[in-house]
């Protein structure tokens, strides 16, 4: 098996319009959650979210392009461009993959089209409604924009989409199927219809995202994208690339139990598979799924304790969702930036923890970032549907 490294990073998310500003915001413990500004927000019961503010599509795309791009695809393309510039790589088109995660795809396009025909009584929708809303639009536009002709597709596993996408890209390179890949996730569901649907489940917080806090009262939605360039380690070293991390493992499992309630067993099994033969003691940081719901945080902490035993008290665990919200299909991708930051010596915090829940008694890096040497990290993603995907990464050597 070949070894796989990350050599390019790109993002647009509530914390920043690119990687440097995002990392700075994470290091500062910035919270990007605010009042939702979508149309008819006054008719929502939940009026907070982590929006990407100040994003000017016209600054990135010309008019013909914009007609074809939903907001989620715009985020994906801008992130992919930054990742390619960062990696400074010349790709072999047919030996490169593009694998993107998303849950809602072009949800905003659907929202607008339904509004037009159902509410406004229009008899037609925009002619490009279908190519804009399709879930594979982001992956396809990246492949077209960069000229990648290898395996290109979308993974849709709700909150685990990005980790599944990045994990599959890792496996493709490790197995020799491709030499390099662009992988990540994109999401843009902060529209009236998107929030209304989530409201129904009664799991959204009206007050904020406070993972591991005794007063936590649910999750807060976010939007954005992150894309990474993955490549064969030997090739990266040969061309003198900057290596941010090595992906050392990927574990995926299914709870096979409940469509929304998480299971400790499934989460544990995914972490164990991601670790493989690596000693659990080498893990210094876990980027938790940490949604801020009552059920997730408690079960995730119990799963971490079960996997790591006594070492659970010697590792750091944080949920950056407290800062950028829950990006659903893009969550794992944006959170991977927090993992790379940790491997670079700064562990991102969990902000908003006023009173830590006794049932979440791990070092959750509450309040502000912490400088420390971390050799290995896990990034957890546990999705609705009971689908778990965990990435293991190591500091480059």
């Amino acid at each position: 098996m070949r070894r796989v490294v990350i050599t390019g990073r790109g993002t647009v998310n509530p914390l920043g319009a690119d990687v440097p500003s995002t990392l700075a915001a994470m290091a500062d413990g910035t919270c990007a959650i605010g009042t939702l500004t979508c149309q008819d927000a006054d008719r929502l019961s939940i009026q907070i979210g982590a929006e990407v503010r100040g994003f000017e599509p016209a600054a990135h795309f010309d008019k013909p392009q914009l007609g074809l791009l939903d907001r989620f695809a715009q985020f994906a393309l801008v992130a992919a461009r930054e990742a390619m510039t960062d990696a400074a790589i010349t790709l072999t088109p047919d030996r490169t993959a593009v694998i993107m995660g998303t849950s809602g795809g072009g949800f905003g396009t659907q929202n607008d089209a339904y509004r037009a025909v159902f509410q406004d009584g229009k008899s037609r929708v925009h002619p490009f409604t279908v190519p804009r809303l399709m879930a594979n639009a982001a992956a396809s536009h990246i492949s077209m924009g960069i000229g990648v002709t290898g395996p290109t597709y979308t993974v849709s596993t709700a909150c685990a989409s990005s980790n599944h996408a990045i994990g599959q890209a890792y496996q493709m390179i490790a197995s020799g199927m491709v030499e390099a890949a662009l992988a990540g996730g994109a999401e843009a569901m902060l529209s009236f219809g998107g929030i209304k649907a989530w409201e129904g489940l009664r799991v959204l917080s009206p007050t904020g995202c406070r993972p591991f806090c005794s007063t936590r009262d649910g999750m807060v939605q976010g939007e954005g994208a992150a894309v990474f360039v993955l490549e064969d380690r030997d090739a990266a070293l040969a061309r003198g690339a900057t290596v941010y991390a090595e992906i050392t493992g990927f574990g995926m499992t299914s709870d096979a139990r409940d469509i929304v309630m998480p299971s400790q067993h499934g989460a544990e099994a995914a972490m164990r598979r991601a670790l493989g033969n690596t000693a659990p003691q080498s893990v210094g940081y876990i980027n938790a799924h940490g949604t801020g719901t009552r059920a997730n945080d408690q079960i995730e902490v119990a799963a971490i304790r079960a996997v790591f035993g006594d070492h659970a008290d010697h590792l750091l665990v944080s949920s950056t969702k407290s800062m950028h919200g829950h990006l659903i299909g893009a969550a794992g991708a944006v959170e991977l930036l927090g993992c790379l930051m940790a491997l670079d010596g700064t562990v991102p915090p969990t902000v908003g923890v006023a009173d830590q829940d006794a049932a979440c008694d791990l070092d959750v890096v509450a309040g502000s970032a912490r400088a420390t040497q971390i050799d290995m990290v896990l990034s957890n993603a546990f999705a609705f549907g009971g689908l778990n995907a965990v990435l293991a990464l190591a500091r480059p050597t």
């Binding site: 129904g200 489940l201 009664r202 799991v203 917080s205 009262d217």
Partner: protein, 88 residues
């Protein structure tokens, strides 16, 4: 005393969710006794909001903090009555 319409409609909503006859739903029953789990409760609250055209304050992350008391069928009926008066 609970509004007669509220009681009748509430019993019907809970019976339908529990797949029981309305006559099998007692005012002292808990959701557990009716076999209604957390997902079933979310559907019950949706049905209540639709039937009475009210908004029920309820967060599944903190059910015990909710002003909507779900302890028994009777407390739910009382809570719905109160919401109907407040929002009617």
């Amino acid at each position: 005393m609970a509004n007669v319409d509220t009681t009748k409609t509430m019993i019907a909503i809970l019976a339908e969710q529990a797949v029981l006859e309305p006559t099998d739903v007692a005012l002292t029953d808990t959701l557990d006794a009716l076999g209604i789990d957390s997902m079933g409760l979310v559907e019950v609250i949706f049905s209540i909001e639709e039937a009475f055209e009210i908004s029920v304050p309820f967060n599944a992350n903190a059910p015990e903090d909710s002003p909507f008391d779900i302890s028994t069928v009777a407390t739910m009926i009382a809570a719905v009555d109160q919401l109907r008066r407040a929002q009617g």
